[in-house]
Amino acid sequence: MKTLKAISTLVVLIVLSVSYSCSHKLHQQQPYSAQVTFLNKDEVGTITVNSKGFGKNENAAIVTAQTNAFNVILFKGIPGTDLNVPLIENETDAKAKNIEYFNKFFDQGYYQSFLMSSTLSENSIKSKDGVYSSIDLKINYNSLRKDLEQNNIIRKFGF
């Protein structure tokens, strides 16, 4: 009985230690959508885009659309705009070396610090699997770039 209790405690501790180590891996492993289109550019250093997202409910769909937009701006670029070249050149490398930052950015909603506005461009479409939303986002990419530089995710302009 005592041996069984000790073994159970051990197993629980092993499970806890493994899950604690794994918790530092990047959560957002799912591929993101490239359905992000340029709308307009108002002030210098900002960009307005339309992004689409799918989720279990409208809130989840909106969050997906927002994170899609940031993923595209950070790692893919938007052709024909000031962000034709993405802010971060190597996505795999950057995400692997800066796990905490990107966890904070996407999972903990830090990206919202750079979101100047977010409005539904049309009514969300509900289906049996979930909700599909389309939102217009105004993003302060100048401030985003500075934040990436300050956190050593990217180099400042120059060498």
């Binding site: 000031d82 070249v85 050149e89 400042k156 120059g158």
Partner: protein, 301 residues
């Protein structure tokens, strides 16, 4: 027995804590950080045949606005450019200009500025019945090698206005961000793959040696020994030979690292030239080295 299990459990917990602490990238190294030497960038106006670089800005406010807006874009990235007008004034004050030939004046300004990169802005004003517009051609290149760093064409769009200053401003805003982003990707290439230098090796008029001379302990032709050295000492084995004759050997693109690979300190063409100089001395030759910006001239006596 009970004690053993508790000790084992404690060890496991400790291991996972250690994993999480040391498994992360250490971004806060305690060693002294070397500040990488930045390129000097100067924004200059484009001049046509016969236009005087010294006075072209005085006569055209659209060009002045375009140049200022471009410099403002560099400032917003936290980068300080070399001021063209200030350098021009310094050149005049020091009587640098030795001729009135426009090509010479431009070369003299470029040489005395010490800039590594030039951003040339050409402003084109277009007037028409369907509206007026300003186009901007922006080019950036490395002064010493001519390597292109970025090229963009900006357009203001057509408006029924005579405010060409505003149109010039719009033309810059339409392309300068992307222009700088492309420049940054080229800088990243330089950081990762090395900076380009040119190496020009020739002989003094009275020298007894030629590129085909068999010298050194291996008695191999000098040109082959030079190439073997370049193979080992260029960064990531990246070099290109423009041409070799019996009297000259030119490497028009040799990559050198921005940082010394052994010490982590800043590295530059002067240091590379010194290594090359030592190589020639090691072969028993008498070299003379001269470094102008990113071009290394070695003359063997």
């Amino acid at each position: 027995m009970k004690m053993k299990y508790y000790i084992l459990a404690l060890l496991l917990l400790q291991t996972s804590i250690i994993n999480s602490v040391f498994g992360q990238k250490d971004t806060t190294k305690s060693s002294v950080k070397v500040i990488t030497v930045q390129p000097k960038i100067m924004v200059i106006p484009y001049t046509k045949e016969g236009e005087d670089l010294r006075t072209v800005l005085e006569n055209d406010e659209n060009k002045r606005i375009a140049i200022t807006k471009i410099k403002e874009a560099f400032d917003s990235r936290g980068f300080t450019t070399v001021d063209f007008v200030a350098k021009l004034k310094a050149a005049k004050d020091n009587n640098v200009f030795t001729s009135d030939n426009q090509t010479d004046i431009k070369s003299q300004i470029i040489q005395m500025s010490g800039a590594d990169v030039y951003v040339q802005a050409e402003v084109i004003v277009e007037k028409g019945q369907s509206g007026n517009s300003v186009k901007l051609i922006l080019t950036a290149y490395e002064a010493s090698t001519g390597n292109s760093l970025s090229n963009k064409v900006g357009e203001s769009g057509k408006f029924y206005t005579d405010d060409f200053n505003k149109l010039a401003s719009k033309a810059v805003e339409s392309c300068v961000e992307d222009f700088l982003n492309v420049m940054q990707t080229k800088f990243t290439d330089i950081v990762n793959n090395g900076k380009s230098v040119i190496v020009d090796i020739s002989f003094d008029a009275n020298s007894q040696y030629k590129m085909s001379s068999e010298i050194g302990p291996d008695k191999l032709p000098l040109s082959d020994q030079i190439e073997m050295w370049m193979e080992k000492n260029s960064f990531k084995n990246n070099y290109h030979i423009q041409g070799t004759t019996d009297l000259k050997m030119i490497f028009d693109d040799v990559r050198i690292p921005l940082k010394d690979q052994a010490t982590g300190n800043n590295y530059n063409p002067n240091k590379f030239a010194l290594e090359l100089y030592k190589f020639f001395k090691g072969l028993g030759l008498e070299p003379h080295k001269d470094v102008k910006s990113s071009t290394i001239y070695i003359t063997i006596k």
